[in-house]
Point group: C2
Chain length 382, copies 2
């Protein structure tokens, strides 16, 4: 793994967005959610995704300079047309409305059509939580989830995210795909040359596969719960629920009509959809934050099955990863990622101001590769 | 299995509730959700549970004659104290408020404390759906779910239910525990003397067990997703989310403070909690019901992995079971269930007007047992 200073990785993302005509604010908003994913260890949603967003902009599937607008409004709801802006722009717009309404009526529920991929969904649910509200965010995504008993995918990995503020500096943070795992996890096993556990993915015959190559090529992820015996129908139902809140409510593309991100067409908007919810717990029993903090602390103190792996509260792993990243001051990327960033910088005529730090604990071979990359990038002084 | 006329099973439940001092309306409301569970094939939530409710009433943990009240209200929210009434009474009260507010502002979000077990959660989410709204219901429950990595349970099976109205007579119906399976499913395997699949439950050492007896005695269900490799942390997080909406919001008992239903104490209210949500899709894009129906029909037409098991839409299995039950006119109970109903009828001095129909396709032995039960029950003419 090569290490890059956080603000340099972020600056590069912003520069790339700007280079393809993205207004500065939109570029920064989208880069912020990408770098956050890298910081908390969800690398599948970070720099790794940058080129998809850039391609969407260059082919006109995404139009960052547009403005989202409210199509219909009630005291606690809004229906928004994102007008093909970047997912981050659409999500700030939608969630801000939900927050405003939650402060007025107790709840804000906003559904957004005409959007693009908005990165790590938890980032948006975190926004109301910073203002003392419970935040929820949902998004439909490209078709990958295979309904229980089916041979083909028909829904997205459709994430559910819930973030709630607690006392004593605690925050409950849940951000989960409704598939057993994301495609990114299968990619990691593939890179390692290791089999995948049963319950993650199906092969072309519809049967569970343990081969990461077959799983990756087929693109049929199993729902959370895995097979029918272990209640995979629940993950399927939850993914469908997210689609009800997103595409089916907003009139965007939905489920089997979405297709794949890699097959974006020139000038055809992705027309993805999100749903943003904010709820003010002040409307319920006093002491919300204390009870939540007490729960989180109780969970951490539970006797673990294996003392090497202590029980964690939802969000702890992300928080720990973020703390470590901030201490280090760097985010880590695999050599291929760095190489493709160099190629991207050249293509967009950007200076890649990265000093790639090789991890001394890693193989010498990798260090050599990284060194070569650094030379190739004509890395300027940081 | 012995078959009993639907309305006779229902009438018996109502009579039992009345015999322990429940007002008629409350008795009927609670019996209706129990008989519905038997009708749709979720027998763990039907007649099987009746004695728990009756015991709660007799020991004063539940006080059916009380009245629920609103403690705090905003335009889209309400905080309700159920005042120890039956779960059904509390749930009608709470969901009616959510429905009213959804019609006024777009969303109604109600959290209820001081309640009791309310039966099959999907029954309550179905109420707004009958009026064209999306319905959601959540409930905290007795402590059974074991957080990922933990040796001990700390949350309930905390169900999530979402019901949405679609065109062409379709209804999306999802009602799932956030554990891989309910304790009832383990009980069924135990009765059959068959092992349970990995990913359902842990033994006292915290490791997965395939022994239904060990699983039942330990009472440590695994979250939806099973072990950590197959993303059990997601089910754990979803159960915690339900607790945030229920006990943590309402100030009722929550998570590890709840304990077990079998250990109810005299005069100590269970103080369980529910959350009811209604959303009016009319506030979003026109055509909601058409899109949802199109999805449900698409899912059913997907090529199945095994042609013997066609793909179903969420709620199809329950709907098919209910249709079959209505055609037959009877609900089916295991002999032990019938025997315990006979004992219950004697104890409460009620006439058990059941003519138990033995299933001719079953073992002669079972028919003989049922015949004896019928005699013992001094079954009156139906």
């Amino acid at each position: 793994m090569g290490k890059v200073k956080i603000n340099e990785a972020y600056r590069f993302m912003v520069d790339c967005f700007k280079a393809v005509g993205t207004p500065i604010e939109a570029a920064e908003q989208q880069a912020r959610v990408l770098i956050q994913a890298d910081k908390v260890g969800h690398s599948s949603h970070g720099l790794n995704r940058l080129e998809f967003y850039l391609k969407d902009i260059t082919i006109g599937a995404c139009v960052p300079k547009n403005k989202p607008k409210i199509l219909k409004e009630n005291l606690s709801t809004a229906w928004v047309d994102a007008n093909s802006v970047l997912g981050a722009t659409a999500s700030h717009f939608g969630m801000d409305i939900a927050i405003k309404k939650a402060k007025e009526t107790g709840v804000g529920w906003v559904t957004v059509k005409g959007s693009n991929h908005h990165g790590m969904t938890g980032w948006w649910a975190r926004k109301p939580a910073k203002q003392g509200l419970i935040g929820m965010a949902f998004s439909n995504t490209f078709t990958l989830l295979t309904p229980t008993r089916s041979k083909k995918a028909a829904l997205g990995t459709n994430p559910i995210s819930v973030v709630a503020p607690a006392s004593q500096g605690e925050t409950f943070y849940l951000d989960i795909a409704t598939t057993a795992v994301s495609l990114g996890k299968i990619e990691i096993q593939r890179r390692k040359g290791e089999p995948i556990p049963s319950g993650w993915a199906q092969g072309p015959d519809g049967k569970e596969t343990n081969d990461p190559n077959v799983a990756f090529a087929t693109g049929c992820l199993m729902p959370l719960g895995g097979g029918e015996k272990t209640s995979g129908h629940k993950g399927y139902g939850l993914s469908a629920m997210v689609e009800i809140f997103c595409g089916i409510s907003s009139g965007a593309r939905y489920g089997h009509h979405i297709g794949s991100w890699t097959h974006a067409k020139v000038g055809v908007p992705h027309n993805l959809s999100h749903c943003f919810v904010a709820i003010d717990p002040e409307n319920f029993a006093p002491g919300f934050g204390d009870r939540l903090a007490e729960c989180m602390q109780h969970w951490r103190k539970l006797e673990p099955t294996d003392p090497k792996y202590p029980v964690v509260a939802p969000g702890d792993l992300e928080k720990m990863a973020e703390t470590q990243t901030n201490i280090r001051g760097t985010v880590s990327y695999v050599p291929q990622q760095i190489a493709s960033s160099i190629a991207l910088a050249k293509r967009l005529k950007l200076i890649l101001c990265w000093k790639v730090y090789a991890n001394t604990a890693e193989l010498v071979l990798e260090t050599v590769i990284l060194y070569k990359i650094r030379i190739a990038a004509q890395c300027c002084k940081y």
